[in-house]
């Protein structure tokens, strides 16, 4: 566990670690805290309990495809079935399987009824 954390810290490079000197330690934390508070948070609701690897993959995708200045807040919602939902700048939007089912409910119902009708013949 300790080795994983060390690895995570080393991933930020020497320049980042040099910020935390004996004289500038508290100042650096305050500065980081201020910078973090200025970052925008993307809340992600997942249908499954994501492991750190999965979270890392999602974070990487966000930084590569959208922006580097996004803080990710991962939460669990099993009712989503699959996929995920987001809260961005106070707006909730659902891109999960549950949402797809609700969008295509008419087609699903028709298919189900057709299936039931064929089965009862």
């Amino acid at each position: 566990m300790v080795s994983e954390e060390l690895e995570w810290l080393n991933s930020y490079g020497v320049q980042f670690l040099n910020l935390f000197q004996k004289e500038t330690f508290y100042q650096s934390f305050s500065q980081i805290d201020k910078m973090v508070s200025e970052l925008q948070t993307l809340t992600i609701y997942l249908a499954f309990s994501a492991n750190p690897e999965s979270e890392k993959q999602i974070g990487s995708w966000l930084r590569d495809n959208l922006s580097t200045e996004i803080v990710m807040d991962v939460k669990l919602d099993p009712s989503l079935i699959g996929g995920c939902a987001f809260i961005w700048k106070g707006v909730y939007r659902d891109y999960s399987l549950r949402s797809k089912i609700q969008t295509n409910r008419a087609q699903i119902l028709t298919s189900f009824k057709t299936f039931m009708a064929e089965k009862t013949k």
Partner: protein, 262 residues
């Protein structure tokens, strides 16, 4: 009668005179206040004179009264004799004039009877003539009346027949109109009832359809809910981490495509 009146008058005169004397006597004998001896002597003298005078007056009155009675009797007898003689004369003359009047009256009566008989004969003739004329007129009027009655009876019968016929026609027409109106009314009522029933039926069908749609929607909702539940249970067990991550990447790509996260 006259004698009796004269006697009564005499008695009255006597009574009056006696009353006057008595009044004077009483006035003379009134008690006086204790007179003096001289005055008393004079008074006795006056009283004595008065008594004497009154006796003279009484005696004179008696003489006058007897004379008056005697005169009254004489004149009464004389008046009776005169009255009897005159009454006898009047009765005689009345009997005479009555006889004349009776004879004249008999003549007048005879004449009047004759005139009256003539008048009666004339009246009888006139009456008979008038009666004959009246009989003739009455007979003619009766004949006319009978003729009129016959015509009237015929006309009444005809009018009655016409009335009955007219009434019959009116009743027939009334019945026909009534039948037509009743038929129209029944037809309209039937149409209205049909329309009302149709409307009620439509309303009931609409209600049933609405209820059916509502129930179907509820059933659809339940089916969808059941499907969601089933899918969530099935997929949760069957989807592995890779599949879940694929769904997550798909969601992220879609959010990026919609420019939800910038």
């Amino acid at each position: 009668m006259l004698t009796l009146a004269v006697a009564l008058l005499s008695i009255l005169v006597i009574a009056l005179l006696s009353f006057i004397i008595w009044e004077r006597y009483r006035d003379a004998h009134k008690p006086l206040p204790s007179p003096s001896p001289l005055t008393l002597e004079n008074a006795y003298k006056v009283l004595d004179d008065s008594i004497k005078k009154s006796r003279e007056i009484i005696s004179q009155a008696e003489v006058e009264g007897s004379k008056l009675v005697t005169d009254t009797k004489f004149y009464t007898q004389k008046a009776n004799q005169t009255y009897e003689s005159r009454l006898k004369q009047a009765i005689d003359s009345a009997q005479k004039s009555q006889l004349g009047v009776v004879s004249q009256s008999e003549q007048h009566f005879t004449k009047a009877e004759q005139v009256f008989e003539q008048y009666l004969q004339t009246v009888e003739q006139n009456t008979r003539q008038q009666l004959d004329g009246l009989y003739q007129k009455t007979a003619a009027a009766q004949a006319q009346y009978e003729d009129f009655i016959k015509k009237l009876s015929i006309a009444t019968q005809q009018a009655q027949l016409q009335s009955v016929e007219t009434a019959k026609q009116k009743v027939d027409k009334l019945f026909e109109d009534f039948e037509v109106k009743l038929a129209d009314f029944l037809l309209q009522s039937e149409q209205k009832m049909m329309l009302a029933v149709d409307l009620e039926l439509r309303s009931a069908r609409q209600l049933i359809d609405t209820y059916k749609v509502q129930q179907m929607n509820v059933i659809d909702e339940n089916i969808v809910a059941m499907l969601e539940k089933t899918l969530s249970l099935v997929l949760a067990k069957n989807l592995n981490l890779k599949d879940q991550m694929d769904f997550v990447y798909e969601s992220l790509e879609k959010a990026k495509a919609e420019k939800f996260i910038v």
